[in-house]
Each structure stands twice: as C-alpha cells, then as structure tokens.
C-alpha cells in the first residue's frame, strides 16, 4: 500500500479511543450546559410544532401529530448534534487550536484522530437523541419496549452525519462555509425526509430523492420503534446509513491527508 495513505488510516482498532477520551474529558467540564443546549432546540420544535400545528393537522398516519413528530425530532437532533460537533468543534481542534497537530506527534495516525472525532460526535448525538427520547417517552409518545430499538439507530445516525460533516470540515477553508452545508443540505433534508410531515405529502419529484437521504432512513427506523409498529426493510435502512458513514469516512480521511499532511 502507498505508505502515505497508511497515515490517513487508523493504525489499529483502539487508538481512536484516546481521542474520544480527550474530548470526553473536555466535555465533562461543561456537560450540563452542553446537554441542555442540545436539548433546547429540538424540544422547542417538538412542543411548538407538536402542540401548535398538531391542533390543525389532527391525526397523521394513524397517530397524533406529536407522536408522529417525536421520531423526526429525535433523528434531527442526532443529525444536528453530530454535525455541529464535527463542523465547529472538530474544525476548531483541527485548525485553530492545533490539537490534531499535537496528536500527530504521537503514535496516532490521522485516521485514528478522524475515527475518534467521529465516535465522539456520534456519542454527542446519542446523548442528545436519547434525552429527547426520554422526554417523549415521559409524555407518552414512546411504545415500550420497542423504543429501545431506537437507541442504537440514534447512535448510527450520529456516526453517519459526523462522517458526512467531516467531509465538509476537510474541505472548508473557514467557518463561513459551514452555513452553506446547514442551509443547503441539512435543512432541506429535514423536510424531504419525513421528519415533520409524511413523505407522501411531497410533490412526486421530491419523493424520488428521499431514498437517497440518510435522515429518511434513520426516521424510517426510529418512527416505527417509537410507535410500536413493525419496521420494514431494516437491512436496507441500516445498510444505507452504514454506506454513507463508511464512504464519507474514507473520503474525509483522504481529503484531510491532502490538507494536513503535505
């Protein structure tokens, strides 16, 4: 193998854990504020849309609008939490604070760092998504015990979106570019993936796009788990999320190698 590319791959199966633990130690100091921050935005949407719009739209797909919306907000919060961790916090650690540079002096490779950052962002997403799941469950919007199936999906959703965001981090010259990713990719995805209204309400052309959106696959797994309904095509949805995660991981590693190791 090209020796240069080996530096962009993880050196072994456990090195990434040191990076994860670094981020965990830093996060622990501000944990409470961080959790509340992650929780606030989706909760406002959940209550705002759920109670406000819920009165007007009545029942959706055979359930109350709030129950329908809960899965969308959980998936969206996982998406947002891991994306923001990667495009802002990890970008700062890479560029402004030179923390990655210091790690590269050790026996860790760039691939170890990227994997550690992704695992950490997925952890943040898991915490955010789980917190909202708990709130939704307390309000009676989660079926027990099938809601437990939603938890690993939240983590996988976080990993997938962290991986995608890492590609953006690798390419962005500065923070100013991240807003394009948010407004042109993430926000449309929220509406095209059935987070706030059913996909069959979309114009036909847009419905064609949905199968390619990772958030749609995430919601298709989380929503039945929340409502206690059978999940269709589990393998397809998990496979799609994994493909996005893996391809974006290798792509971002290659891009970061070009950016940092030359």
């Amino acid at each position: 193998m090209d020796e240069g590319f080996a530096a962009a791959l993880p050196a072994n199966a456990w090195n990434w854990l040191a990076v994860w633990r670094r981020n965990y130690l830093a996060w622990k100091k501000v944990a409470l504020a961080s959790i509340l921050g992650n929780l606030a935005d989706p909760m406002i949407y959940f209550f705002g849309l759920g109670s406000g719009l819920g009165i007007m739209v009545g029942r959706v797909e055979g359930t109350s609008y709030s129950a329908f919306l809960a899965a969308g907000m959980i998936a969206a919060s996982a998406m947002t939490a891991s994306t923001f961790e990667t495009i802002y916090a990890a970008f700062a650690r890479m560029r402004d604070r030179r923390i990655w540079e210091a790690i590269l002096y050790t026996q860790l490779t760039l691939g170890d760092i990227v994997l550690g950052e992704l695992a950490w962002a997925a952890t943040r997403a898991f915490l955010a998504g789980t917190a909202i799941t708990i709130v939704a469950a307390m309000l009676g919007y989660a079926a027990w015990p099938s809601v437990l199936y939603a938890l690993p999906v939240i983590a996988l959703t976080g990993l997938t979106f962290a991986s995608l965001a890492m590609v953006v981090t690798a390419l962005a010259p500065s923070y100013d570019y991240f807003v394009f990713y948010q407004t042109l990719v993430l926000t449309p995805m929220l509406f095209l993936s059935g987070a706030v209204f059913p996909i069959n309400q979309l114009p036909g052309a847009f419905q064609q796009v949905t199968p390619f959106l990772p958030l749609a696959h995430s919601i298709d797994l989380i929503r039945p788990a929340m409502l206690g309904r059978p999940v269709v095509d589990v393998g397809v949805h998990i496979g799609a999320l994994c493909i996005y995660a893996v391809v974006a991981f290798f792509l971002s590693s290659a891009l970061l190698r070009r950016r940092l190791l030359r």
Binding site: E3, G4, R22, I99, A102, L104, Y105, L260
Partner: protein
C-alpha cells in the same frame, strides 16, 4: 542502540515550483545536540515535519532511531518527543491533564502516567501549577509544559522547532538549562533555531541552512575557526564604503551589513591605527561568533 540516531540522505521537498529542501544530508549521533540553523524560510520546519513523518520527501531517505520514515514513522514517533514552534497545548485542560491526555495517545495507562507526571511537572518547574489551566500560564511556563509533554513517552530523541522563540531572556535561559540536563541524561536533541546564541550554547554540531541546502556543517567552534578564525571589529558610523576601501589592505575580509562594517582582522591593531584619526567612529572588537559565520557564508544578516 545503533551509532546513528537520525540520518537524512539527499532529501528533497518542493511545493509547486518552490524548492524548500534541496538535497539535504546530515547525520545525528546518539546523545548529540544537533542544530539546524537558518533564517525564516530556510526549510527548518519542513525538515522537522518530514523527520516526524508528517510529510513525505519527494526524494531521498530518512531514518529516525533505526526506522525508515515515513513508512514506519509511527513506530519512530513512539520514541520521539516534539516541541513545536507554536504552542499547541490543550487550553481546556490543566497542566496535569495536558500530560495525562497526551500520555494516553501513546497508549499509556492512567496508573503509568500518574507515576511519571509529578516528576515531569517538577522537571518543568511547574509543580505549583499542576492544577492551573493552561490559559493561566505565562509564555515561559507554557513552553516548559510543552517540554514536559514531549517527555511523557520517555523519548530517546527530541525534535525541537525553535524552542525559545518569543521567550524573554530569563525564560529562555531556564529552557536552555533544562535542555542541558536532558543532554546529560543521554537524550539526543535536534533543534532548529534562528538564534545564534542558542545554537552556540547548546549544539554539539550544527548545519547552516540556506534555501534548503546545507551550506556548512560542524561544531560551532570548528565553524567559527574555519570560516572566520580571527578577531572581528565592528565599525559603526562614517561612510561604510569609504572606510572599507581604507582598511581593506589590513583585513582578511569585510562584510557590510546595514550601517555596520564587520572586519575580520588577524591583526586588529593595524586597523585601529588606520582609523585613529577619524572622529565619530565607534569600534567594537570582539571574538568571532556564529553570526559572523552566517554572515560570511550567506552575505546577509540573521534575525537576532
């Protein structure tokens, strides 16, 4: 351990049309302090990054502690400590946490690290700052913490990129003293600097770089003897051109740098006699130093 701590052979690196390192070769012996001396832009930091395997040379061979770099750079880095040009400590953490987190990157357990961290903080004279956040430390303290961090894996070789740039004299002397202790313990140090005094005080041998080429190599004293070998008279004031033609017959060589004439004079008294009649001149006679060597070799002044 082998007789060579580090070896570069015909190393080249260019970015686009710009040649940064141009066929550089040198060897560092174990236990030696080897300096890479050159102005900003001479390729020093690029060499440091290549030695760590962070960038690949376009041509040539690099061996660090017996490992070929970059192919086995990761294994070499297990036994290397790095002090970078710009502090990249973790500002969110305390001094102690910085060492703990960094040690974990080497796969060390918390127990192993707890055992060595107190002695490293003591070595860096930061015992009282163990639980202070990095943001609260002074520039000199941060540098010393960076040095302690570089020692967390008990390295055989230290790569230091301008370790005292930007420090006040007191802080700088403290770093130099610490580095001499490390040399006495048998560590090998490779040091880049544009500081003549630093190179002269610390380095057993050094190479002078210009445009990524090795233009002179040897011990500081050998270089000074070889390239200067006599007293230097600095002459300020007056017209440098006129003065230089006046005294040229009596000196070995003259360099002009700004307003100052540097005369390399085997017999300084003769020069003084020539200038005795002239008012308004200031003469400074001194032993030669590395800066003179650099000026002689490159014909231009280094940053002080």
């Amino acid at each position: 351990m082998s007789k060579v701590a580090m070896e570069l052979t015909g190393v080249k690196k260019s970015y686009g049309d710009k040649i940064v390192v141009d066929g550089l070769s040198f060897t560092v012996a174990p236990g030696e302090c080897f300096g890479l001396l050159g102005p900003n832009g001479a390729g020093k930091s690029t060499i440091a990054r290549m030695v760590l395997g962070m960038i690949s040379p376009d041509a040539g061979k690099i061996t660090v502690l017996g490992e070929p770099v970059p192919s086995r750079a990761r294994l070499a880095r297990m036994r290397v400590g790095v002090v970078p040009q710009f502090d990249n400590l973790d500002l969110e953490f305390t001094a102690r946490e910085n060492l703990l987190v960094f040690g974990r990157y080497f796969g060390k357990s918390a127990r192993e690290l707890e055992a060595v961290i107190p002695s490293l903080l003591e070595f860096a004279r930061l015992e009282s700052k163990a639980n202070a956040r990095v943001a609260e430390l002074s520039g000199g303290m941060k540098r010393r913490l960076t040095l302690a961090r570089a020692l967390i894996n008990d390295p055989q070789l230290l790569v230091m990129d301008e370790p005292t740039t930007g420090l006040d004299p007191h802080a700088r002397h403290l770093i130099w003293e610490r580095l001499r202790i490390l040399l006495a313990r048998g560590k090998t140090i490779i040091l880049t600097t544009h500081f003549m005094e630093e190179a002269e005080r610390l380095c057993d041998r050094l190479c002078v770089l210009e445009h990524g080429r090795n233009i002179a190599e040897g011990s500081p004293h050998a270089l000074i003897d070889k390239h200067i070998g006599c007293h230097v008279i600095e002459i300020f004031g007056g017209n440098p051109r006129e003065l230089s033609s006046l005294i040229r017959p009596y000196v070995q060589h003259i360099e002009m740098s700004g307003e100052t004439l540097y005369c390399y004079a085997p017999d300084p008294e003769q020069v003084r006699v020539q200038l005795r009649e002239r008012a308004g001149l200031r003469l400074l006679q001194r032993p030669p130093n590395l800066e003179d060597v650099f000026l002689r070799l490159t014909g231009r002044e280094m940053e002080k």
